[in-house]
């Protein structure tokens, strides 16, 4: 499997067979006794201007994938092919630090915690302006102008730039975090749970802001989240992860209308619907997520799957194209009729 969306222009990001294993060491000589397969053979592409939603429960590897793309961690194996502004395709996974530094401007991150991700001792001017300073904008006047422009872009008043983060609410701080991520005019933004710490009324404001910025600045998003309704709202395509693997990847509407993997369907059924007349399904997923250090045999989902057969215990399914553009890692993806109501 090389390319998931057929395009003439190479995709902005092409992740191929990405792996990240963390060693488990034991004893006084820290002998390596095994590996946590946090990310195990993950491949996907992201087209320019697109939003890819990455969903899964805690420990599924979604954060590790996003950190590997940013090269905050070094992947164990695999390629992270990125098309630069100049149109050159480079592999972020193996680049040296110096080469990477120039590219860091193009790939930025929006963090989950709007309280922890800003320096409390720096004014907004310094917090938002720091990436500019690091990238060689020495003149304070120039930086002030750019920060004012950025604050306006995210819906904050430029006068705020001399205040400190503590003076702002959670939603405003998340806007500040977005302004900082936009400072270097990035092309790809990795947002790790950007709205999960926010109140419902503020969450909608930030989601609207992200959608608006995307169309205005032609941004590409990787949106990591556990909240399916939020992911569904913002994403063009959705990738579902389970125990370090992609189990389903498809356009948003297709995933939600007809999921092809039983885990995706179970995940959707588990979401409490904000309507007392819609009952949650009785078929609640049993058991717990297995440890990525000791995954089950065959299909990783088989111990919890109500459709599991003998083959699922023995043979690990591959991620394969079930419908055009719709990938699922299930032996019986075609036969099962899964839907939200199922």
């Amino acid at each position: 499997m090389t390319s998931i969306t057929a395009e003439i222009v190479p995709p902005l990001l092409d992740v191929r067979e990405l792996r990240k294993y963390f060693p488990i060491s034991k004893g006084c000589f820290r002998r390596v006794v095994g590996h946590v397969r946090a990310v195990d053979d993950v491949s996907f592409t992201v087209a320019e201007g697109e939003t890819l939603g990455l969903v899964g429960e805690s420990g599924c590897g979604k954060t590790t994938v996003s950190r590997a793309i940013l090269r905050a961690i070094d992947p164990t194996a695999g390629q992270v092919l990125y098309r630069t502004r100049e149109g050159k395709v480079v592999d972020l996974a193996t680049m040296s630090g110096a080469e990477l530094k120039a590219l860091r401007r193009e790939i930025q991150m929006i963090f989950q915690d709007p309280f922890g991700s800003l320096n409390p001792r720096m004014t907004l001017l310094d917090n938002v302006g720091e990436p500019l300073l690091v990238n060689g904008m020495r003149s304070r006047r120039e930086r002030t102008e750019r920060v004012a422009e950025l604050l306006r872009l995210v819906g904050l008043r430029p006068e705020f730039m001399h205040r400190f983060p503590h003076a702002f609410s959670g939603g405003q701080r998340q806007r500040i975090g977005i302004a900082r991520a936009l400072a270097t005019s990035p092309r790809l933004l990795v947002a790790d749970e950007p709205v999960s710490a926010l109140d419902v009324s503020v969450q909608a404001q930030v989601l609207n802001l992200l959608l608006e910025l995307q169309s205005r600045l032609r941004l590409t998003f990787i949106f990591v989240a556990h909240d399916l309704s939020v992911v569904r709202h913002i994403s063009d395509r959705v990738a579902v992860m389970y125990v370090g693997q992609l189990v389903e990847l498809a356009p948003t509407e297709a995933v939600f209308a007809r999921p092809r993997h039983p885990y995706t369907a179970a995940l959707m059924r588990a979401v409490p619907v904000p309507d007392p007349r819609i009952a949650v399904g009785d078929a609640i997923l049993k058991g717990e997520v297995p440890s990525p250090a000791a995954p089950p045999s065959g299909c990783y989902f088989h111990p919890r799957c109500r459709f599991a057969e003998d083959r699922c215990r023995r043979e690990a399914p591959l991620l394969r194209e079930v419908d055009p553009g719709h990938f699922a890692r299930c032996h019986f993806a075609e036969q099962l009729s899964l839907s939200q109501a199922a």
């Binding site: 989601l207 309507d275 997923l285 717990e288």
Partner: protein, 357 residues
């Protein structure tokens, strides 16, 4: 299935188990006074699940702490009553707001008749005692006798604990009883917490965001368990959450709070299908749906939650409200009044009664 309210769940004629009346809790800080709970009233009837929903700073957790007399200084209850109908040999009504937090009566009620499921089971369990030791301690402390009058021995309490762990769906309870909380997964830990809360057969259970720190498939399991246990023991539950989905699936009756005040309350179906208060309506509109159109602009509530020192004049929601009445809403605080057969709202769109200053 969403519970169809039985007479006990919705019946107004049954005496409430708990009546909160005009409760006010303030925190006196150097910078000023925060009115965390500002005149809140609601009832909980036996066997009823009352959901308290609101965003951060709305006072839902402080209300819960006031009921349990767990408010830390500099906070204190300055007004109002928390009437609890105790079911001893002679039924009597106790005003919890008047009890000393460390007094004998409050300590006898807390944990035994009114129990808490906290948000973070990791922080609530002691890491240096096994889960079993902690549940056994609760049983020994509150239920010193069997129904037939025999004293409960430590051995009996251990057997009861194993039964409780089995009851909340923990497999291999004989082994799990000797586990430390940090050896359990998040879901198991919350199940153990539920077992502990239920250990003394409380009449009122307060669940404070019990599934917020848990993954969605585990959350579904925990919510199903709570529903099942609620039916089985007919426990009244105050369910505190910011998640409207959880409220819709769990509660019979919903109290919507904003900045320390009740904006609206009513049966769950009315709140979700016929909301009256502009805040409730706006809140419901602003959540992305699993069924609606994607990548559209979501309707938002304008502005942000005001800072607690900087409360708006008049109705607390007035600066963000899209149906504000200019000459009225900023000048007086609307009172909680009936707006339907079983629904109440504090909003001048429906009546003209202001709260006395």
């Amino acid at each position: 299935m969403p519970p169809i309210p039985t007479a006990a769940e919705s019946g107004e004629r049954i005496e409430p188990l708990l009546s909160v009346r005009d409760l006010r809790v303030v925190f006196e800080l150097d910078e000023g006074t925060v009115r965390a709970v500002d005149g809140v009233s609601f009832d909980v009837r036996p066997g009823q699940v009352v959901g308290i929903v609101g965003e951060s700073g709305c006072g839902k957790s402080v209300t819960m702490k006031a009921i349990l007399q767990l408010i830390e200084t500099p906070g204190r209850i300055t007004r109002g009553e928390i009437l609890y109908r105790q079911n001893s040999t002679r039924p009597r009504v106790i005003d919890l707001a008047r009890l000393r937090p460390r007094g004998a009566l409050m300590r006898a009620l807390r944990g035994a008749e009114i129990a808490l499921i906290p948000q973070e089971p990791m922080a609530a369990f002691s890491p240096v005692h096994t889960v079993g030791q902690q549940i056994i301690e609760a049983i020994m402390l509150h239920a010193s006798r069997h129904p037939d009058g025999r004293a409960i021995s430590r051995h009996d309490a251990r057997a009861m604990t194993i039964e409780l762990l089995r009851d909340v769906g923990i497999s291999m309870p004989e082994q799990r009883v000797d586990a430390y909380s940090w050896q359990l997964s998040g879901g198991l830990r919350q199940r153990a917490m539920i077992a502990m809360a239920l250990s003394c057969r409380p009449r009122l259970l307060i669940a404070d965001e019990p599934t917020t720190a848990i993954d969605v498939t585990t959350q579904a399991q925990i919510l199903a368990l709570l529903r099942e246990l609620q039916r089985k023991y007919d426990t009244a539950i105050i369910f505190i959450t910011h998640d409207l989905g959880v409220i819709a699936q769990m509660a019979h009756y919903v109290v919507v709070m904003y900045l320390g005040s009740v904006m609206e309350e009513g049966p769950v179906d009315e709140i979700f299908h016929a909301p009256k208060h502009p805040y409730t309506k706006a809140l419901l509109r602003s959540i992305p749906s699993l069924y609606g159109e994607t990548r559209t602009t979501l309707p938002v509530i304008a502005g942000a939650l005001p800072h607690p020192f900087n409360r708006p004049a008049g109705c607390p929601f007035q600066p963000r409200c899209d149906q504000v009445i200019p000459q009225r809403c900023a000048h007086a605080v609307p009172r909680l009044q009936p707006v339907g057969p079983r629904q109440q709202a504090s909003c001048f769109l429906y009546h003209d009664l202001a709260k006395p200053a």
